[in-house]
Amino acid sequence: MIEVEDIHSHYGKSHILHGVSLELKEGELVCLLGRNGVGKSTTLKSIMGMVRPTQGSIRFDGKELVGSQPYQIARLGVGYVPEDRRIFKSLTVHENLMMGVQKTKRGGASERVWTIDKIYGLFPNLRERRGNKGSHLSGGEQQMLTVARTLMGNPKLILIDEPTEGLAPLIVKDVLEMLATVRKSGVTVLMVEQNFKAAIKVADRFYIMGKGQMVFAGDMAALLAAEDVRKNYLEV
């Protein structure tokens, strides 16, 4: 469904990604692990067109994404859930959700699976607080809202950056359950996570990044076997 091939990305003068490749098949939930500052978020932003790779190619359903604007990529069916929540603070919860709706309809698999009623059914908290300003929500509710907002666009692929960051353990459980539900609905998920324990419960496959490059790719059994990789690139 998506193939990222040898991309290089820069922030100003610093070279962040040194040839990153990864691949997701339809329906997979894949987790991208690695320490702070190795380029995980930049990888997601490069796919989304928010950072423009200087080299390499990103193909989504066979279409080249490099060089497109984020809104064009979103319209193809890629959803992005940013790291620091980034809900619209001066909009109400309901208006935030409305911002996720896209006018252009894509054919095929991405019929309107996610509607406002379905979202409110899945997130009763959001229904209760639909008239509240985004800034009045708790961290967990804000995380739910960012994911729900992206789902309103009925993406085929969803990119999620650190969904459990800064949340209490009980809320982390809720967020992971929600991701499992999203995935069951047929959406492909690429998730960046620092919380190894959280990731291992939900992901089918793992990629591990070190300094701007992939250092590992494999399923849970392979990850558990590769002790040196975990030691060098994950554990503190």
Partner: protein, 286 residues
């Protein structure tokens, strides 16, 4: 104190004009993070276009319609072909660009219309006076305030009652995220900048008969407009309404009560607001 009601009305008229100028300025700043120094120069262009069109046709209503349209086109071109190109280089470049544009526009005006004041006289209904509560008052000043109210209410209706309004308010919060959700933000930016330019053009048309049309008119209003958006809070339309009224009345009554201090009063107000609430009356904390 029989002057008080008259000066109050004068204040309202100037507040209306200030709002028309600063609404576009604050909207563009809130959304695009661009402090548009050329905004007041566009207002001046509006006034000069209107002067010429009025002389040619004698139709003030036509000026009110056509000149903002001109400025809309100029604004769209400036955003699309100049501002967007320097955007990646950061705020300083955007600031310098609009600064340079302001100078070019002012010099062009001097070349075409000359470096002297022009008088704009409108006849007809708007040039009359009206008598109420025992005062005789020019209709035109009431008309200015009316225009500001209509523009303000229309903008509020768009921002709070339409889907476009939700997108615009979301873009004030986080335009990159709006882009990532599938909205053509570059197009929205062009539209907003052009709309801001059109508003400044409208303000210029309206200012013509009230103030003098001369190349320095841009600088004159720019300072007050900046004070309005600082006091009201950068990017806040409601703030622009309140601050325009405050500054308008302060200017008007300043002249009446403390003629020698009147120029300093707006700065005193700005300093006081900044000390109490650095983000402005309605500004959100950054």
């Amino acid at each position: 104190m029989s002057e008080v009601p008259v000066f109050f009305l004068h204040g309202l008229a100037y507040a209306g004009l200030l709002f028309l100028v600063s609404a576009g300025l604050t909207l563009v700043f809130g959304m695009m993070n661009v402090l548009n120094f050329a905004h007041a120069a566009m207002y001046m262009l509006g006034a000069y276009f209107s002067f010429t069109l009025l002389r040619a046709t004698g139709q003030f209503w036509l000026c009110l319609l056509v000149c903002p349209l001109f400025l809309f086109i100029i604004g769209a071109l400036v955003e699309r072909f100049l501002l967007r190109r320097v955007h990646t280089y950061g705020h300083l470049h955007e600031l310098l660009l609009t600064f340079g544009l302001a100078y070019i526009m002012t010099e062009l005006v001097k070349l075409i219309w000359g470096n002297f004041p022009l008088a704009v006289n409108i006849g007809g209904f708007l040039g009359q006076t009206v008598e109420f509560f025992g005062m005789i008052y020019p209709i035109y000043r009431i008309f200015i305030f009316g225009c500001a109210v209509i523009v303000g209410l229309s903008m509020a209706a768009i921002l709070y009652k339409t889907r476009l309004g939700i997108i615009l308010r979301a873009a004030v919060n986080d335009s990159e995220m709006v882009n990532a959700l599938g909205f053509d933000v570059p197009l929205v930016f062009t539209g907003v900048f052009a709309f801001g330019a059109a508003l400044s053009g409208l303000a210029g048309v309206i200012a013509g008969p009230l103030l003098t049309t001369y190349p320095g008119m841009a600088h004159e209003i720019l300072i007050d407009a900046f004070v309005v958006i600082v006091v009201g809070g950068f990017g806040s339309l409601g703030g622009a309404v309140v601050a325009s009224l405050l500054i308008g009345e302060l200017q008007s009554f300043g002249v009446l009560l403390f003629p020698k201090l009147s120029l300093a009063l707006v700065y005193l107000l700005m300093a006081a607001v900044l000390i109490i609430k650095p983000s402005g009356l309605f500004g959100e904390k950054q």
